[in-house]
């Protein structure tokens, strides 16, 4: 898949053409007691929202291991949403507080590594917030759509340019010392 970059420069027609070919794939991890119930309420109230979201039910946002989120990206998701009970409402009293710390740190960590912040989302949606749920989904889909398809694990750009611009010549040491003549093609395993 091609990367959609420099969006403004492309003509609108071209954009639409691409839009039609690509739909974001978004995984949502929902806690059973609040957010999943909130999504149920959106259903019972027939509040329409974007269908590009696939919900995986977990008992509590505290059950969500950061691995789930990372693995979703590995397995082809373009965006991830984790939703739980509002602080103080956790069915298990403190699950979402622990989750909040984990998510805050994970988000900072992978954004530091260059992950687009539009791909990873967290929300508190209560069992009574059907309309908030639909709004959250639409917002998330929108953000991921703007970020474009996730091609982060395609062949990396191993150009001179990125080497020079990285600070402190940090990436130089490895290749130099170990005659790092790499065959990138064989490393990434495909393409």
């Amino acid at each position: 898949m091609k990367k959609i970059k420099d969006k403004p420069q492309e003509s609108e027609d071209l954009l639409l053409e691409k839009d039609r070919l690509w739909q974001p794939r978004i995984v949502a991890f929902l806690c059973n007691w609040c957010s999943y119930a909130g999504a149920d309420l959106a259903g019972t109230s027939r509040i329409k929202y974007n269908p590009q979201i696939r919900i995986i039910r977990v008992p509590c946002s505290g059950r969500v291991n950061p691995l789930f989120i990372l693995r979703a990206f590995i397995d082809g998701a373009d965006g991830v949403l984790v939703s739980g009970c509002h602080p103080g409402d956790c069915h298990y009293s403190t699950g979402n507080y622990f989750a909040r710390r984990k998510f805050a740190l994970l988000k900072r960590l992978i954004e530091f590594c260059g992950m687009d912040e539009r791909r990873i989302h967290f929300s508190w949606v209560s069992a009574a917030e059907g309309s908030k749920w639909s709004q959250v989904v639409n917002d998330v889909v929108n953000a991921v759509y703007q970020a474009g398809p996730f091609t982060g694990f395609d062949l990396p750009v191993f150009s001179k340019e990125t080497e020079i611009e990285t600070p402190a010549d940090l990436c130089k040491q490895g290749p130099e010392r170990f005659a790092y003549s790499i065959d990138l093609m064989s490393r990434t395993g495909k393409k």
Partner: protein, 305 residues
């Protein structure tokens, strides 16, 4: 001072008060060109006749706390361990996580004014990165720090002048964070691509003591084992995340990496983040609850919708 220590350790070994000394010693190694050199490396001494091998010099960069949780040394009775002030933090984290019994430990506290970067790379001949941070934070250019919880303190400083400072990681970090996200992603992709999955970083890390590392699990196989980009990415992110709030910044992972991946850049970022978000410093206090097993009602949640 060292002589006193050696005499005492010999006594303790013969009397059986301790079972083993883990410290720094010198070892003769043969170089590729046939010449011979002396290198400072960790030594594991269980006979009193070997004690004379112990040294304390500017090359004692390794964090010996790592060995405490290794299976081989669990049976060795009480262990005497040479500990630099910064390494003490690692002991605290392990105590926090109930991995070591302080009673089984005889801490030989070293007085330190910085050690040399022993990385087989650009920083050789300079002060190690972690020392720059440590000396800066103590407010003096040539700080002398002493572990206060040691069972015995070696007050002699290693010989030699202060080596020149190398590059400070904070400035690297600052520069790095200014880059746009695509550049950062490309940078790490290139870095992670180099990873051979030799797990030297894992072996050298004092905090990586799990009996079964998540990276070795195959049912389910969360992290692909072959060294391709996806698996490497996941491995390094998970490694960094598992060290969040636990990493004491000893820099061993980066030092031992044969491919020169700047792992401390990520680790330092997380150390800063944890301090920034929660005011938490790992290894500060063995009594404090681990970062991820505590929370405050008013923790930052600006990122949550």
């Amino acid at each position: 001072m060292m002589d006193d220590l050696k005499t005492r350790l010999k006594e303790m070994l013969t009397s059986g008060a301790i079972g083993m000394v883990i410290g720094y010693g010198q070892k003769e190694i043969y170089m590729a060109d046939g010449s011979r050199e002396y290198r400072t490396c960790p030594v594991f001494l269980s006979r009193d006749t070997e004690i004379d091998r112990l040294v304390w010099n500017r090359h004692c960069v390794q964090n010996l706390v790592t060995y405490l949780t290794k299976e081989e040394y669990k049976e060795s009775g009480k262990i005497a361990l040479m500990v630099k002030p910064c390494d003490l933090k690692a002991i605290h984290v392990l105590e926090q996580e109930k991995q070591i019994d302080r009673k089984r430990l005889f801490i030989i506290g070293l007085t330190c004014k910085g050690v040399m970067a022993e990385k087989m790379g650009i920083d050789e001949g300079h002060l190690a990165g972690k020392c720059i941070k440590c000396l800066d934070s103590s407010g003096k250019s040539s700080a002398v720090c002493t572990p206060d919880e040691a069972d015995i303190v070696i007050e002699t400083l290693p010989d030699g002048d202060m080596p020149p400072k190398g590059k400070d990681i904070s400035s690297d970090l600052e520069g790095f964070e200014k880059m746009p996200s695509e550049k950062r992603w490309a940078f790490w992709q290139n870095q992670f691509l180099k990873c051979l999955r030799c797990y030297a970083c894992r072996s050298a890390c004092p905090m990586c003591y799990c009996e079964q590392c998540i990276c070795d699990m195959s049912r389910p196989q969360w992290i692909d084992k072959s060294p391709h980009l996806k698996g490497n990415f996941l491995f390094h992110i998970v490694r960094a995340f598992h060290l969040t709030g636990r990493c004491v910044g000893c820099g061993e992972c980066e030092r031992v990496c044969p491919m020169g991946i700047p792992l401390m850049l990520i680790n330092q970022k997380m150390i800063d983040t944890v301090k920034d978000l929660y005011g938490y410093e790992s290894g500060k206090d063995p009594e404090q609850a681990p970062l991820l097993s505590q929370f405050k009602m008013d923790d930052d949640q600006s990122f949550i919708k």
